[in-house]
Symmetry: C2
Subunit: 158 residues, 2 copies
């Protein structure tokens, strides 16, 4: 479990670096699919991970800023780092005994849904990888090489 989070965190940093090489205009240009913009996609990835792990599983009262409140590459990068500092201890402390614990989620429609911690953690992992796949297409549209999605070769298992 941990290794896939570490993969996501490393890839996310690489995309933040990639964003440094792209104009603000490209980062906020409307595109087809997904969240529809590069920078809001990165915002969304952070919000979902932080929301499920700190707000959902751990039940901490969290505040997720509006996109406008953190709009801008450096602001989102800094916010991502703050969220990471809050949620990483839980991920590093993960053990099989947590797999089947239940959290109750209140959906946007106000319904109560029960999920195991294990389901939520995997949801968060898949969620980020999926959106990063979308960034890779948009990167090529701009004419730029995307960040490598390879998990092998990142030194995660050294």
């Amino acid at each position: 479990m941990l290794k896939l989070f570490e993969y996501n965190w490393q890839v996310r940093q690489d995309w933040f670096d990639w964003c440094e090489t792209v104009s603000e205009e490209e980062l906020m240009k409307k595109r087809t699919g997904g969240i529809g913009y590069i920078l809001p996609t990165l915002y969304h990835i952070v919000a979902v991970e932080y929301g499920w792990i700190c707000g959902g599983i751990q039940g901490i009262t969290i505040e997720i800023p509006s996109f406008e409140a953190v709009a801008g590459l450096q602001q989102i990068r800094a916010w991502s780092a703050r969220c990471h500092a809050e949620l990483a201890p839980f991920v590093y402390g993960w053990n099989d005994g947590l797999e089947d614990r239940i959290m109750i989620d209140i959906t946007d429609e106000g319904e109560r849904e029960a999920h195991t911690y294990g389901e939520v953690m995997r949801h968060v992992i898949a969620h980020e990888i999926h959106h990063i796949g979308q960034l890779s297409v948009w990167s090529r549209e701009i004419g730029k090489k995307p960040v490598s999605a390879n998990l092998i070769g990142r030194g995660l298992f050294d």
Copy 2:
């Protein structure tokens, strides 16, 4: 580990179903990013999973057909099912004792690289999710709703 494979297999079936609703022309139209075409992306996903798990980790002598040999939705779907039947027993038999076992990969450049089984398995998981993210953008370009990428709500943990 298993649950993320099951997620990928379920999402892949959903995409095969989605492909049934799209013309052959759209499935083979050149697009920006990734593998560059919808159907070859699905072929590539199958080839990589099968190649790493059966050919790589298990060291079985496998044959990966050229895309042309399985070109066509039904052929790729059937080939995916055959590969799945071959590799699924290994995935279902996964246990923590396999994590650190080593396999030797011969790269396209002829170099020998050592990887743990755990690294390879996670590489395969992330690989499919990443490419599926690309399909979701192309789906919107066609004006169609993509398959849901949500892991929660798929009944994988019922």
